[in-house]
C-alpha cells in the first residue's frame, strides 16, 4: 500500500477524469423519507457534482453490481438441428465511487466464497476484476455496528481509499491501476501533520459508534439457543419478504431458472438472487418443504450469517452495516435478535 494526500479540489478533477472515461456509479439521493431524511442508492453518474458524496449509507448495497439480481449464465439456440450454447461473462470496465469500508469488506467476504471457494464463479470474477473501486470513510449512523465485527476499516479489496482529513483526502492506494490514474493529477506524499490527522480521524470514527453487538462466542450461543423461544418471537413479526437478503451486502443465496422462449428456438439459464426467508427456499421436488415455519427460515438466516458455513471458515458473513435492520418494516434487526438470544437462559 502507498499513501498520498490530495486536495479536495484536485480530487474532484481526478473523479471527473474517471467519469469522463468510464461508466461510473456513485451515491445519489433518490428520495426523502417522511421524516425528511435522505434515501441514497448507487446510480450511474455523469459528473462529480452529480454525486452526493456526503451521503450516509445507501439503502441497497453495491452487491448487485457484482451479483446481479438476475444474471444470464448461458443461452441456448436450437433454431437449426441440434443446439448451441453461449456463455458470456464479459463486463465492460466500470468505476464505483464512494463505497464504504463495510461494503468493501463485504466484497472481500464474497471473494472468499465466490472466487476462493470450491466452485469459483467466472461471472462474479469478471465483474469484480473489471470494477475500479474508490472507497470512502464516513461517520457511522446511530445503528451502524460494523466496528463490533471489525469491518469499520478496510485494508484490501479496493483500488483507492479516501480518508477525509479536512481540506484533503488521505489516500490509500492498493492497485497499480489507481497509482497510474493518479499520475494525471497532483498528489503529494503525506507530511507528518497529514498522518497525524489521519490517525485522529480513524480514532474519532472508531469512537463514534453508538451501537455495539457482542459477537465473540456467537457460534456457540447460536448452537445452545437452537430451540429458543426467541426465534418464534421474531419469526411472528417476519413478513418473509426477502427484503433483508436483497439489501444485504453479503447474502448470496440464489436459484436457477431455465426459460424457453416463446418462439421455441432459444432458451436461457439464469441465476436469480433468492432469500432463505422466502417460503419455498427449502422446498424440494415433490413439494416437501424442509422449513415451513417463518421462525425456522428467520433462524437459518441468522445461522448462515453468524454461525457460518464451512465455506467461509465459520466466520460471520455479516459486516454490521445494518441495512437489513433499516429496511425491515417489521424492525427485525441483528442487534435486538442477538441481544435477545444472549439474555436467554
Amino acid at each position: 500500500m502507498i499513501h498520498k494526500v490530495i486536495t479536495k479540489n484536485e480530487f474532484k478533477k481526478f473523479v471527473d477524469g474517471l467519469i469522463e472515461e468510464n461508466q461510473t456509479f456513485g451515491p445519489k439521493q433518490v428520495d426523502k423519507r417522511a421524516d425528511g431524511s435522505g434515501i441514497y442508492q448507487f446510480k450511474e453518474v455523469n459528473s462529480y457534482d452529480d454525486m452526493d458524496l456526503d451521503y450516509t449509507v445507501t439503502y441497497s448495497s453495491v452487491k448487485n453490481f457484482f451479483l446481479p439480481f438476475r444474471e444470464e449464465l448461458s443461452s441456448f439456440d436450437f433454431s437449426d438441428k441440434g443446439w448451441d450454447q453461449t456463455v458470456e461473462y464479459r463486463v465492460n470496465p466500470r468505476v464505483i465511487i464512494g463505497v464504504r469500508p463495510c461494503d468493501i469488506n463485504a466484497l472481500n467476504i464474497l471473494d472468499k466464497i465466490l472466487i476462493g471457494g470450491a466452485y469459483p464463479s467466472p461471472y462474479y470474477m469478471a465483474r469484480r476484476t473489471n470494477t475500479f473501486l474508490v472507497g470512502m470513510d464516513h461517520e457511522p449512523l446511530d445503528d451502524c455496528f460494523c466496528e463490533s465485527l471489525g469491518h469499520d476499516t478496510v485494508h484490501r479489496g479496493f483500488n483507492l481509499f479516501c480518508t477525509d482529513i479536512g481540506d484533503k483526502y488521505y489516500l490509500t492506494i492498493s492497485s497499480s491501476k489507481a497509482f497510474g490514474f493518479l499520475k494525471n493529477v497532483k498528489v503529494a506524499d503525506p507530511v507528518n501533520g497529514d498522518s497525524v490527522k489521519f490517525h485522529e480521524r480513524r480514532k474519532y470514527l472508531r469512537d463514534s459508534f453508538k451501537t455495539k453487538v457482542e459477537v465473540a462466542g456467537l457460534p456457540s450461543v447460536l448452537d445452545i439457543e437452537f430451540k429458543s423461544p426467541v426465534w418464534k418471537k421474531w419469526g411472528d413479526k417476519c413478513l418473509n419478504c426477502g427484503t433483508c437478503a436483497m439489501v444485504c451486502p453479503t447474502c448470496y443465496c440464489y436459484g436457477i431458472e431455465e426459460t424457453i422462449d416463446v418462439n421455441l428456438k432459444s432458451s436461457r439459464k439464469e441465476r436469480v438472487q433468492y432469500s432463505c426467508n422466502l417460503v419455498d427456499f427449502a422446498e424440494v421436488a415433490g413439494g416437501h418443504n424442509f422449513r415451513p415455519l417463518k421462525e425456522d427460515r428467520l433462524k437459518y438466516r441468522f445461522y448462515h450469517h453468524y454461525r457460518g458455513f464451512a465455506q467461509n471458515a465459520d466466520d460471520p458473513i455479516c459486516v454490521g452495516c445494518n441495512r437489513c435492520g433499516r429496511a425491515c418494516l417489521a424492525r427485525i434487526n441483528p442487534k435486538d435478535v442477538i441481544s435477545d438470544l444472549q439474555m436467554e437462559d
Binding site: 439503502y59 413478513l239 419478504c241 426477502g242 427484503t243 426459460t259 424457453i260 421455441l264 418494516l329
Partner: protein, 251 residues
C-alpha cells in the same frame, strides 16, 4: 413450429369473458413483438377479441371476469363441461376483482347509485371457483402477458408451471426501488404474490394486491406495521378489500 426437432402439441383454446373489463383478454392479444410466436402455440377455437371462429371443441378454456348474473352461471357450467382444463385469468376471475366491492352493499342501493331507476339484473359477485372447478388461476389486474407466455410454453412442452409464492417486495427490492411504506404510503407488497415485477411500487404507488396473497403471508404483522406508522384500520381494510383477494383476512 418445432422444438428440438419435434412438433409440439398445440393447445386448443377458447377464451371467454364474463363480468369484467376485458382488459385481460386484451393482454393476451398484446405484446405484438412475440404475438405471432405466441399464437402459433395455440389453436384458437373461440376468442372473440382475435377471431370470428366460434367453435366448441376446445381443450383449455380461459375464463375472464366474474359471475354476476344467473345466465352467466349456465354459460360457465356449459364451458366447464366442454373443457378438459379450465383456467381463471385475472383478478376478477380469481378473486372477484374490483366489482366484488359491491358485495358489501345492498344490491338495490348499488343499482340505484349507478343506474338510477333503470332496471338492471345483477347479483352479488361470485368468483369462478365459487361456481365451477378451476384447474389453474393466473392472477393480476391485468394478467402479465409474460407470465401467460411462460405458462403456455410450459404447457406445450409439458414442463412444470410455476407462479411465484413469495411476495412483491422481492421484485421491488431487486429493482432498487424506494420502499413506498418509507414514503408514508400503504403498500400490500409484503403480503401480495410476486410476478408483476413490482410495477405499481416502481411507479411510487403502493401495491393494491391484485395478484392475491403470497403463500404464508403475514397479514397480522403488516397490519401492525402500518398502524404503527399511523395508518387507520379502516384505510388498511379498504386496501385489503380492493380486489377481494384478501377477504378471508378482513372479515
Amino acid at each position: 413450429m418445432k422444438y428440438l426437432g419435434i412438433d409440439p402439441q398445440k393447445v386448443r383454446v377458447g377464451v371467454f369473458d364474463f363480468t369484467g373489463c376485458e382488459g385481460c383478454e386484451l393482454q393476451l392479444a398484446n405484446k405484438e413483438d412475440s404475438l405471432l410466436d405466441f399464437l402459433s402455440l395455440l389453436e384458437v377455437v373461440n376468442f372473440r377479441e382475435v377471431s370470428s371462429d366460434r367453435g366448441d371443441d376446445y381443450d383449455v378454456a380461459l375464463i375472464e371476469g366474474n359471475i354476476s348474473r344467473a345466465d352467466e352461471i349456465d354459460r360457465l357450467k356449459d364451458i366447464r363441461a366442454k373443457a378438459k382444463v379450465l383456467v381463471a385469468i385475472g383478478s376478477c376471475a380469481c378473486f372477484g376483482g374490483v366489482n366484488q366491492q359491491k358485495n358489501r352493499f345492498e344490491l338495490d342501493d348499488v343499482v340505484k347509485e349507478v343506474y338510477g331507476d333503470h332496471k338492471v339484473e345483477t347479483d352479488k359477485v361470485k368468483r369462478i371457483a365459487d361456481v365451477v372447478k378451476v384447474d389453474l388461476e393466473i392472477p393480476g389486474c391485468p394478467v402479465s402477458k409474460e407470465e401467460v407466455e411462460r405458462i403456455v410454453v410450459n404447457v406445450v412442452l409439458g414442463a412444470e408451471i410455476k407462479i411465484p409464492k413469495y411476495p412483491v417486495c422481492v421484485e421491488c427490492k431487486q429493482k432498487v426501488n424506494t420502499c413506498v411504506v418509507d414514503l408514508g404510503q400503504i403498500c400490500l407488497g409484503p403480503v401480495t404474490r410476486a410476478g408483476c415485477d413490482a410495477v405499481c411500487p416502481s411507479g411510487k404507488v403502493g401495491c393494491l394486491g391484485c395478484r392475491g396473497p403470497a403463500e404464508d403471508a403475514n397479514f397480522e404483522s403488516l397490519k401492525q406495521i402500518l398502524m404503527d406508522k399511523g395508518h387507520s384500520d379502516s384505510a388498511i381494510v379498504e386496501r385489503l378489500r380492493f380486489y377481494g383477494a384478501f377477504n378471508g383476512t378482513v372479515g
